[in-house]
């Protein structure tokens, strides 16, 4: 006899949901038969607002598209404006940008680690990882004035130069974080509970991953070695030495291991950046922000964020304001079409684990 189906609303008020969204589940017993993503709780019409603001006024808006990792947004918009205008950026600014991007990647991975372990019932990891993330936020506070939203990268360079003694502080924090990683291995990655909950769950088909639009750690967790930093190097990534870790399996465990290995790569990149950073200007003079006409043109720029390819399609019509800025967040695909499909057949208790491992982030879906 077929079990009776019930509807279960997972979110928007649920400790396991990754932000203000809801997944409407149809379940038979413990097994999910159908999943539907519902967003709209966080829509703030950023793309429309930016059409009515100057280019410079758009920078404080874009960083709010992603809370755990706002910097790829700023970098994308800055690079898009520079590309349409043909504006040069000083070498020092490029190095500082890479440092900020990698620091934000580390901060995002710490937050992910807390969420992922929390959904498996390991509640010590969130306490640790959020605490360790705070050391990175302290660095951001000193550098930019803001802990979460930085508004630091803008067209033409970065807003301020590094404060005195800052590189040493970054290196000290990196040493500390590196010394903490084995502790996290013992607590989370080598933990039998986590391994049992992660292995073989939420599997993405390797042959279909590219076609389904999977990007970032979930793609590399399928054993496919692609990273925007290597495929289409931006800023100074082509001058830095790092590898793109992959892992076979396509499940939550594979994605977790990819992220764990990438943390080491990020630490190594930050050290290289500080070692190689040249002196000189940190921004090129830009026009008066209130009178900044960007010539007509269009561009598509992309960045590798902690969750995958973050793209901006930007169109300018030669006026003071952007004609169109359309954001492609990795969660747009991961959180709707991919999630709806891989949740089918999963257990109710694994929904939060799967969502976390895909990096679903509703502000990107609805902007």
């Amino acid at each position: 006899m077929r079990e009776k189906e019930t509807t279960l609303y997972f979110g928007p008020q649920h400790p396991g949901i990754t932000g203000n969204m809801m997944v409407k589940l149809k379940v038979a017993g413990d097994t999910i038969v159908k999943a539907e993503t519902h967003v709209g709780y966080l829509h703030r019409a950023f793309e429309k607002l930016m059409e009515q603001r100057t280019w410079m006024q758009s920078f404080p808006i874009v960083c709010r598209i992603c809370v755990p990792e706002p910097d790829p947004n700023e970098e994308n918009l800055a690079r898009a404006v520079e590309e349409i205008e043909g504006r040069e950026v000083p070498e020092r600014a490029k190095y500082i940008r890479v440092m900020v991007l990698e620091l934000s990647r580390l901060a995002a991975y710490f937050l992910w680690m807390g969420g992922q372990a929390g959904t498996a019932g390991l509640y010590t990891v969130p306490q640790w990882s959020v605490g360790d993330r705070d050391y990175i936020l302290d660095l951001f506070e000193e550098l930019t004035g803001g802990r979460i939203y930085h508004m630091y990268i803008w067209a033409g360079g970065v807003r301020r130069d590094l404060p005195g003694g800052f590189p040493d502080k970054v290196l000290r924090t990196m040493d500390y974080i590196e010394s903490r990683l084995p502790e996290y291995d013992k607590l989370m990655f080598e933990n039998a509970i986590f391994q049992k909950r992660a292995k073989g769950i939420g599997v993405i088909d390797k042959d279909k991953a590219m076609e389904w639009g999977v990007v970032g750690p979930p793609l590399r967790g399928c054993g496919i070695q692609h990273d925007v930093r290597k495929d289409e190097p931006y800023e100074v990534y082509d001058k830095l030495d790092f590898v793109v870790p992959t892992y076979e399996g396509g499940d939550i465990w594979a994605r977790a291991m990819v992220r764990r290995k990438e943390m080491e790569q990020s630490i190594s990149i930050i050290r290289q950046v500080i070692e190689k950073m040249p002196g000189g200007e940190y921004y090129n003079k830009v026009p008066n922000p209130l009178n900044w006409y960007v010539p007509p043109g269009e561009t598509y720029v992309k960045t590798e964020s902690a969750r995958g390819e973050f793209g901006y399609y930007v169109v300018s019509d030669g006026s003071l304001k952007p004609r169109r800025i359309h954001v492609r967040g990795p969660a747009y695909v991961h959180g709707v079409s991919l999630l709806e499909n891989i949740l089918v057949g999963a257990n109710i208790s694994d929904v939060a684990m799967i969502m976390n491992s895909l990096g679903v982030c509703p502000p990107e879906i609805e902007r």
Partner: protein, 195 residues
């Protein structure tokens, strides 16, 4: 920067040979812009996916060119093999905002089409899931169209709390209400005054 554009030029040649009416431009390294007639878009996307290995639909966007009375649909395809982004564009009339779905080629296109349907009011025939996505109970014109006036919408639907109208100094209102003088810290404690 003198990079080898072999892949780009080869792709342009292949597209040119198959779609004679396409306007093709090499924007920069690894960016090709292809402008097509609207009826050629579905065959082009299918050709690009199946024969040219552009199997990643990176993005699908829409731009409202209200001065030309047209919508521009922009498909961004990426090839992991060739490392090229093809920006395929076409224009459709604003009066007859209708186009065909491509969800049979990429299933994630369904989500993009749902958003564009909601934000621009373009109907995608063949997509049976054009239901409410981001907005809730929306009965105005689609909000991302250029003729939608956000300021007027806010004025019509929301009210300002008395005493908090725009362009007012909140401190003045507080002073008037409570009768006490709120100091202007910026003025009194500025570096010049302290000296």
């Amino acid at each position: 920067m003198n990079k080898n554009l072999y892949n780009e030029n080869q792709t342009i040649e292949e597209i040119k040979n198959t779609f004679h009416t396409a306007e093709i431009k090499l924007q920069r390294e690894s960016r090709i812009i292809v402008k097509l007639r609207s009826d050629l878009i579905p065959p082009f996307l299918s050709y690009a996916k199946n024969y040219l290995a552009f199997n990643h639909l990176a993005h699908f966007s829409c731009v409202d060119w209200i001065e030309d009375n047209e919508f521009e649909l922009v498909y961004l395809l990426y090839s992991y093999e060739k490392n090229i982004v093809v920006i395929a564009k076409t224009r459709i009339s604003r009066d007859k905002a209708e186009f065909v779905t491509i969800k049979h080629l990429w299933r994630q296109a369904e989500t993009y089409e749902r958003e564009i349907h909601e934000m621009f009011g373009i109907n995608f025939t063949g997509n049976d899931r054009l239901n409410e996505f981001i907005l809730e109970d929306w009965d105005d014109i689609p909000p991302m169209r250029r003729d939608f006036n956000t300021i007027q919408f806010a004025k019509d639907n929301f009210y300002t709390r008395p005493g908090r109208e725009d362009a007012q100094d909140v401190r003045e209102t507080i002073t008037k209400k409570s009768g006490e003088k709120i100091p202007d810290f910026a003025k009194e404690f500025s570096v010049r005054n302290l000296k």
